[in-house]
């Protein structure tokens, strides 16, 4: 409950029309972004604990191991940026369905490798597609990522109020170093 408070506060502050309509100064917008970020960080603790609990329920014997699984959000996915993916050749994408009925969802994640395989928990290899990320004509500071493509796959029939994880491995992955170190 305590971990929800930051987001509760953020939602309270964002009843103000400036937070909704875009009439605020940029510094105010940046402050709203800061408040929301803190909310997401704290809610992430709950999400991670909840998903680990769901995993653990299936395999009680491995509770201690799965408790250690870090599950992170990438809040800059809207601009095709995710530092976890920039530095990992293999990663797991967990897709949580917040609706009370089954849904299917096209997952898009920014990647910098040349080829990838995506497997569902049964080991079935899913169809994937790599689509180029449009590059800006004018170089503007903002998006900081080596990713040049987006990996697309279809997460079909996600269970209601539940999740499914997909194991993704890449080959010919280019490891990027400090040049792309993400600034706060």
């Amino acid at each position: 409950s305590v971990d929800l408070n930051k987001m509760r506060e953020a939602m309270g502050i964002m009843q103000h029309h400036d937070a909704v309509t875009g009439t605020e100064r940029q510094k105010v917008a940046s402050d709203y972004a800061r408040v929301l970020f803190e909310g997401f960080e704290e809610c992430g603790i709950i999400a991670q604990a909840a998903i680990n609990k769901l995993i653990a329920n299936k395999k009680q014997s491995e509770v201690s191991r799965v408790d250690a699984v870090p599950i992170k959000s990438c809040l800059l996915l809207n601009i095709s940026q995710c530092d976890i993916l920039d530095y990992s050749n293999q990663f797991v994408v967990t897709v949580y369905n917040p609706l009370s009925h089954r849904v299917s969802h096209y997952v898009r994640v920014p990647v910098s490798g040349a080829s990838y395989t995506v497997q569902d928990p049964t080991g079935k290899q899913l169809k994937i597609q790599l689509v180029p990320i449009p590059q800006p004509v004018i170089e503007i500071p903002g998006r900081v990522s080596p990713a040049t493509m987006e990996l697309v796959f279809y997460a079909k029939d996600l269970p209601p109020l539940g999740f499914r994880s997909y194991y993704i491995s890449g080959s010919n992955h280019i490891h990027h170093t400090s040049k792309y170190k993400i600034h706060p």
Binding site: T23, K72, I84, L85, T94, V95, Y106, V131, S165
Partner: protein, 287 residues
């Protein structure tokens, strides 16, 4: 040299092969003409001494004149087709582009991801950028906008339901808040655009819908901020990115309502993604 078709026989969007411009759509096997383009309004410059002479600014949308100007007439596009998604990347200018997407499985919508900014103001003109859709729907001056997720409200151009109105600013006086959706109807046909955020929108002519996506203004509107809505980050004007989704269908068969509801749930209560690095974990171990 052939136009790009995104979709199938029941639902599709046809784009011009060279520019990527939307030309027509098929909803429930019914074809209708629809185009989309980006325009901008020049911001009005007033002296702020009286209400009727205030500048366009953070709180007031007040274009200088009623005509929106085209952002660019020379668009360039490239199309990427695959097993899961077809998409066309369209460039209007150095500061405005859009990706049009059609996902192939069970999809009855087209996604448009626009990227606008930094809006150039070297000419000392503030600009308010809109995405405008023109169709052959006979909408009879009516359009529908949602009201903070409550209900769809009917809006009638140049009209107020409870008093006799004398419209002096035909563009801004017809703008309404669109928190998630704006819709046109013609007989049994319905055409909706869903937004990913609250935006201003209207229908200034029958069959037309427009939504404001970004603004950069050089004068204060004297409503208290005391500064123009001319923001920068890293020394550049702001860049905004967002999505519009186009969908529709027949009203009597319920497909329009069903598709819109389903799409709203998909995009407004979208699945959450979480990531775990697994460089040292094999698939078998992970399973």
């Amino acid at each position: 040299g052939r136009d790009v078709i995104l979709g199938n026989t029941k639902f599709n969007a046809v784009l011009d092969w060279e520019t990527g411009s939307l030309k027509s759509m098929v909803l429930d096997r019914t074809k209708f003409s629809v185009s989309q383009d980006f325009y901008y309004y020049k911001g009005y410059i007033g002296d702020n001494k009286e209400f009727v002479n205030r500048s366009s600014g953070a709180y007031i949308f007040r274009p200088n004149g009623s005509e929106a100007l085209s952002v660019s007439s020379t668009k360039k596009s490239s199309t990427y087709k695959g097993d899961l998604v077809d998409e066309t990347h369209i460039k209007w200018s150095d500061w405005l582009s859009q990706v049009v997407r059609y996902y192939k499985e069970d999809t009855y919508h087209v996604e448009m991801e626009w990227l606008a900014g930094p809006i150039p103001v070297d000419d000392n003109v503030g600009k308010e950028i809109i995405s405008r859709f023109k169709s052959d729907l006979l909408s009879d001056g009516l359009f529908y906008t949602d009201s903070n997720g409550r209900e769809m409200l009917e809006r009638k151009r140049n009209f107020r339901p409870t008093w006799s109105v004398n419209i002096k600013e035909p563009v801004s006086a017809n703008y309404y808040p669109v928190t998630s959706r704006i819709t046109l109807r013609d007989g049994d046909k319905e055409f909706s655009i869903l937004t990913d955020r609250a935006q201003g929108g209207t229908s200034l002519n029958n069959g037309e819908v427009e939504l404001m996506v970004h603004r950069r203004l050089l004068h204060d509107d004297a409503f208290g901020v005391s500064e123009a809505l001319n923001e920068t980050a890293f020394g550049h004007g702001l860049v905004a990115i967002g999505k519009h989704w186009l969908t529709g269908g027949n009203i009597s068969s319920g497909t329009a309502a069903q598709r819109t509801r389903s799409l709203q749930q998909q995009v407004l209560l979208s699945p959450w993604l979480f990531f775990t690095p697994a460089d040292n974990i094999s698939f078998t171990e992970w399973v």
